[in-house]
Each structure stands twice: as C-alpha cells, then as structure tokens.
Symmetry: C2
Subunit: 265 residues, 2 copies
C-alpha cells in the first residue's frame, strides 16, 4: 500500500475521508502490471474529482503507483482512494487542502467462473437508494446504503442484490451496474439521480455504440427488467454476469450478453 | 486521542469507516471533566449503533476515555467516532467485526457570544437532503451532503445554512437542528426521512415537555418558518442560536428561545 506515494498502512484519524466520507474510490483489476479498463477508470475518477471539487492526481503518477503496488502480482485487485485529507473541525472545505491518496493491491483469484458462464441468481433489495442528483454517479465514500443492502441476505447462492430508488425504478446492483436487452436494444438505468457510474458500464456503452448496437440510458421499472430478453450485471472485477434467475423469472444466457462478455475480455 | 483505548493518532487505511463511512460519531463539550448533555448523547449514540447494527461500547468505558482525553482541558470539544473496523473487501457486514473506537479532544473556546445573545443570520442552502428513512436521524459518517451544503457560502456574517429535503420541507441546519415557535407551541422538523437527531435537540424536547410547553415534531415548510414568532438552531457546542435574519425576514430574540437558552446552560 502506498499513501501519498510512501509505503504505509494507516491514515491520520482526522482525515475527512473518515470523518465525512469526503472522497472517492475506484477498484480495478491489474493483470501483469496492466490496469484493465484504465481509460474508463481514469475518465470516471477525474469526473468524480471534479464533481466533488477534489484535486485530481496526475495520471502518470497514479499509474506508476498502481504498477508499483501490483508489481509482484500476476493478477491483482488495486483500490485507489482519494480523500480531501486532514481537515479542521467542521464541514466547510478547507481553502488549502492536502488530499490523501491511497493505492493498495491484493492478489486476485477472480470470481467463480460459472457466474459468467451460466449466469447468476439475484434478488431485490428492500433497501432503496435515496434520490440525490448532486452525488449521483459518483463513486464516493458515502456507501452506507450499499452496506445495508448487501447485508440483507447471506445465501451464497444469491450473487447480487438489485436496488430500486425511492421512486421504485431499477438502478443497479449493490456492487455492479445493470443492463438489459429488449428487441436488440441495450438499455441501462440512467444514473442522474442515484447509483454509481462504473468503469465497466462506461466501457460497455462505448463498445456497444462502436459496434452499432443501439444503447439507451433510461428509467427502467422492475416489470421492464423481468420482461427483458436478456439482462446482466457488470463491474470491473466481475466482468459481465448474465442474470439467470430473479423472483420466479428465469433467463437463458443471451446472445448479446455473451458477445459483450467476449469483447470485455 | 485514544483509539480502542490506546494513545494513537492514525487508523488502519482498510477501516470500513474510511471505505464506506460505515460508522457513527458524536461531538460534545466537556467542561472540567464533565461531558455536557451526556444522558442525551449516550441515548443517541446507543440508538445509532442499534440502527446500523454496530456493537455499542460500554458506557462506563466510553466515559472514562472521554475524561482521559479531556483531562488537562478546562473546556474541551470531544469527538467520538465508532466504526465497524477493518473489513475484507466488499460491502457485506463481516460476521466477526472488531469495531474501531476513536475518542479525541481539543481545547474549546466556544463560539462568539453575540450569536447566542443577538441571534444569527442564516441562508437557505441549494443542496437538498435526500430522503432515506433507513438512515434518517443517525449521526453516521456519510456526510457529503453536509460538506456540499456548507461549501455553498463563505461570508462569515452567515453563521448557518438551512437545508430542505427533496420535497422542499425544512429539515435542519448544516451542523444544527432547528426549532420554531408558533402561538406558544415549539415545533421542530420530524427526522424520519433525513437529517441528524442531535443531543441538544433531544434535550430541548425533553426540557420543554417537562415544563409543560407543547412540543411537536412535524413537517415544516419554508413559509411556516418565515411566519414563525421565534426560531432558533441548536447543537451541543453552540447551545441555542436564535435566528435573527433569513432572506428579507427579521426576528427579535424571542422570549421562549431566551428561556430555553437559560435552561440549556
């Protein structure tokens, strides 16, 4: 682990990242020193910094630190956390803040291969996502909703829980973004009111668009999802997991899901 | 500063308090070793732990740590932070979690006395509070909304900003709770959908009730607040600050506000 470029494993207890969740993060796979989906990870990270008025680190510096922490790992999970740093008491953003940059790596064995191959069982979460346009899409450190949602089930046969917002529209999984296919069109929830805009989601949108597949970000109801021809969740570590079962509904692994899986690899 | 009872100033960078804001906090004044409003602080702390399924520390232990960190300070601000501790990757609450308990003190000079005596100028914040009943009232570590709201103004003549929720009802200040007086009745926003339930707010409700003053938690509109006979914000460090000016409206310091101020001391 590197903290502001130096080997360390602890942070100042007065850091605003702890006090207020005043920061952002990204999680990515690094294979043989290469951060996967870096273009989208970096785009999202820079956008999130801008949204929260956090100083954005230099890209080359960050890449060097990612490669340093993952140097001895063939396949690593790297986590980047950026906070506004140590602050005085009070919520106001300090005029001069010295941000904290944490880059850490752990060995990564991947998820069970059958999740991608055969699809997963998912459930609806009772926890609803609050509607907060000012924070929508940002991968910030205020993640209690995800903690509560992920704590609703312990059955290992359920790989993911799906979240609705307070209005009852479908948003995402607890740790993934969601797509569905209807009549050849790829649909994914619009993340302008809540949810996290993941790098894998962004890469799928770009890839599908390049291939001439119609992609649309829109509001989706649970009924629309259940009526989909195909559906899948995705994130940077899992890749694409087709949905196999939700409530009483079952899907086969669809052709477009399988094609996007191949392209994602 | 004591971390889990030991003198320290840093926490493990893998703490869930940093990763997800998975924890709670309280801020209190300690005068000559006596934590003020302790009965309400402890009630709220225990309730918040229960809401988030966080292990609650022993009261006697916590009191001893508060007194230890404030030992050499006549007047101290003590902050208590409780997190779910270091976790594995992922949102799920670990079966065995070892919480982190941070108790720190700083000298406290109080706020300028004229705020309590003459009242304060406040403004409306543009940042709205998201509606999330599962987290409403809890003084948790997901405080980005407060950070954004407090960053909307820099004018030192404005002592506080008032927050509306997404439905446009009045909730609280960025760092305070809100009360208004109408026809002798004390009204304060119901915190069942968002907002922080502060110890001073709880003590005012209890004190007023004991005195036979009618108190009601309810939804309040901006128009109702502007039409109030008296209004004030409060927190454990500030005590009670009457509202003197908001938009074009001006209030004198009201009789009930002044009486509650005296009782709060």
């Amino acid at each position: 682990m590197l903290i502001n470029g130096h080997p360390a494993s602890s942070i100042n207890a007065a850091d605003r990242g702890l006090a207020y969740g005043d920061g952002i993060y990204r999680t990515l796979e690094v294979m043989n020193g290469q951060p996967l989906l870096w273009r989208w990870q970096w785009q999202r990270l820079a956008a999130d910094c801008a949204s929260l008025l956090l100083p954005c680190p230099d890209e080359a510096l960050l890449l060097a630190e990612i490669q340093a922490v993952a140097a001895n790992l063939e396949r690593a999970v790297v986590k980047i956390v950026l906070t506004r740093g140590v602050g005085q008491r009070g919520y106001a953003i300090p005029a001069a803040c010295s941000p904290t940059r944490i880059v850490s790596a752990a060995p990564w064995a991947g998820y069970p291969a059958e999740r991608a191959a055969q699809g997963i069982c998912v459930r609806w979460c009772e926890t609803r996502l609050a509607i907060q346009p000012r924070l929508a899409g940002i991968k910030h450190l205020n993640r209690l909703e995800n903690v509560l949602a992920r704590s609703e089930w312990h059955d290992p046969a359920i790989a993911e829980g799906l979240l609705l917002d307070m209005d009852g529209t479908v948003v995402e999984g607890t740790m993934s973004n969601l797509f569905m296919v209807q009549d050849g069109e790829l649909l994914t929830p619009l993340l302008d009111r809540c949810g996290v805009s993941g790098a894998m989601r962004a890469s799928i949108i770009d890839t599908a668009t390049m291939l001439g597949i119609a992609v649309r970000e829109t509001r989706l109801t649970p009924a629309q999802l259940l009526a989909a021809d195909e559906a899948f969740v995705c994130n940077s570590l899992a890749g694409i997991w087709p949905l196999r079962q939700l409530d009483g509904h079952r899907w086969p692994v669809g052709a477009l899901s399988a094609r996007l899986q191949q392209l994602a690899r």
